[in-house]
């Protein structure tokens, strides 16, 4: 089992992440890539982050995912700092011998990142407004569905 989790300001290449997962010999690779949407005149999305906690959490959630699905690898990239519309913000990729395991664990991990990882988004708009993003009840519901 290979786990890679990178949090940082630099952009990432989904192709390199997928190549690393393909190389594990599993047969199935599932990925999710999140991109900043330019809704309502968004100019900049800024992410605040608690690095030590993310790292500790990733270790725990990877262990949970491994208990639940027969995974060969997990790769997570989450960007922080200032991002523009169209830029990638997050990547989750999983590799398994079984496509269902890869697909389900990928969905589980992105739901987990949305609701449990210590990131906070602040939006700045063309008209000068800026505001911290409010959490969505929908995201909590999504994450709760994975509870056993």
């Amino acid at each position: 089992m290979t786990i890679s989790c990178r949090i940082g300001e630099v952009d990432f290449d989904p192709a390199a992440e997928i190549a690393a997962l393909e190389a594990l010999g599993g047969g199935g690779v599932a990925t999710f890539t999140g991109i900043v949407r330019g809704d309502d005149g968004l100019v900049t999305l800024r992410l605040d982050h608690y690095p030590a906690m993310t790292q500790a959490q990733v270790d725990r959630v990877a262990a949970k995912a491994m208990e639940r699905w027969p995974l060969l690898g997990i790769r997570i990239v989450h960007r922080v700092g200032a991002l523009k519309p169209g830029e990638r913000i997050v990547f989750v990729g999983t590799a398994s011998r079984h496509r269902t395991a890869a697909l389900e664990s990928c969905a589980y991990l992105i739901d987990w990142l949305k609701t449990n990882a210590p990131f906070w988004k602040k939006e700045s708009f063309a008209d000068g407004r800026s505001a911290w993003v409010e959490p969505r009840a929908e995201d909590d519901a999504k994450a709760a569905q994975w509870e056993e």
Partner: protein, 86 residues
């Protein structure tokens, strides 16, 4: 007396105007909520950031905890709004 590192994130950090600070540990019997009340009483940015505890979330030593959790054994306390990552 032992110290306690406090970290602030998102609008909590912005209102207080710093990333964090080290304080004297308030003792293991005190809860996160007790400490939040003490800090909010400083007024100014502290009052603004910490005056409505139901809008706050907390982590002790990198684990989410409810605000009624006791600070016994805590080395690092983080105070922040609900997360919005991904």
């Amino acid at each position: 007396m032992a110290g306690l590192d406090i970290l602030y994130f998102a609008w909590v950090r912005e209102s207080i105007g710093k990333d964090g600070e080290r304080i004297d540990h308030p003792g293991g019997a005190a809860t996160v909520a007790d400490l939040v009340t003490i800090l909010a009483a400083r007024g100014g940015g502290y009052g603004e950031a910490l005056g409505k505890p139901d809008k706050l979330r907390a982590a002790i030593d990198q684990r989410f905890v409810p605000l009624n959790t006791k600070l016994e054994g805590a080395k690092e306390l983080a105070l922040f709004p609900p997360v919005t990552g991904g």
